[in-house]
């Protein structure tokens, strides 16, 4: 599996993603500068976390005009797998590759902590190595992760099983107390209608090594490979 990781000015989880994909999991990883336009050499594109353009104006707003974004749009249209993590999710929203928008967190400005999230849909390109309703522990670290969509968009998300992860408590109950940022319906991650683009606020690359005592992120990357194998087959 060849994974392309986009570096925008201000990305800061690009190298973390590469470390996990390449050194920990043994896949191929390429950092791709945002001014490049070719994605022909990769199977999967990751938009990593960070503060592209300092998150000035709105998180992800400026990055979406980078030259690579047009290539990503075409890549996604042809069914290519695109994963946006944290700031990457925000960029996908701003670019219109995923529906909705991010508001500022409801309580504290920036929150860094481990949260529990529930796999709402284990049939996706991104989650096929998880069990349905499985409760995962993953870190979040963001100031704008309060997902918003208008009622029509929200019902479309429901209709097409696009909600992939929700914040929950340790037992898997999706409660208001378990919602760290005020996100609509505790949404932590959504995919597009076609199912090949996912945006999520938690960081799977930060929980993919034994040394951290948490490895729930590994299955996400494994799911991608599984999905790719099936696409080829």
């Amino acid at each position: 599996m060849k994974i392309g990781i986009i570096t925008f000015p201000g990305s800061n989880c690009d190298r973390d993603c590469r470390h996990v994909v390449k050194t920990v999991l043994g896949y191929q990883a390429h950092l791709i500068w945002h001014q490049e336009t070719s994605l022909s050499h990769v199977d999967v594109v990751i938009l990593p976390g960070g503060f592209s353009y300092g998150d000035y104006l709105r998180a992800g707003a400026i990055a979406r005009f980078s030259p690579i974004m047009e290539s990503i749009r075409q890549f996604a249209e042809k069914g290519g797998i695109v994963l946006g993590i944290c700031n990457g999710f925000q960029i996908l929203l701003e670019a219109g590759l995923l529906p909705g928008a991010m508001l500022k967190n409801r309580y504290l400005s920036f929150i860094c902590q481990d949260v529990s999230i529930k796999v709402e849909n284990a049939e996706t390109t991104f989650t096929n190595e998880y069990a349905s309703d499985q409760v995962l522990t993953m870190p979040i670290a963001h100031a704008e992760g309060n997902y918003y969509a208008d009622p029509m968009t929200l019902s479309a998300l429901h209709d097409h099983a696009q909600i992939v992860f929700r914040y929950c408590d340790q037992h898997g109950d999706v409660t208001a107390e378990a919602n760290p940022n005020g996100s609509l319906e505790n949404i932590a991650g959504i995919r597009n209608k076609a199912g090949n683009v996912l945006g999520m606020m938690p960081h799977p690359e930060r929980c993919a090594e034994d040394v951290f005592g948490k490895t729930d992120g590994v299955a996400l990357f494994r799911s991608l490979r599984h999905a790719l194998n099936q696409m080829v087959a």
Partner: protein, 79 residues
């Protein structure tokens, strides 16, 4: 010309930042405040003297970058 652009959250969308500010006003003893909503104020200097052209440019900038139509409205003044 100079454009003053006002970007506000669409009505009906909860404004967490405004809410937080309202709460701290409350704790500082400003009880007369019912609600606070926070938007952006952009002052843009343009080297464009034609009013119609300037208007078109500012509108395009707002649509493309300066506001997010999913959650925000904007209006502007030229002078």
């Amino acid at each position: 010309m100079k454009a003053i652009i006002y970007v506000t959250l669409k009505s009906g969308i909860h404004d967490p930042q405004g809410h937080a500010v309202q709460q701290s006003l409350e704790t500082f003893g400003f009880h007369a405040v019912d609600s606070v909503r926070i938007g952006k104020l952009l002052e843009v200097d343009l080297n464009e003297t034609d009013h119609t052209k300037a208007e078109a440019v500012v509108k395009a900038m707002c649509d493309k970058l300066l506001s997010n139509p999913v959650i925000e409205d904007y209006r502007f003044e030229l002078s």
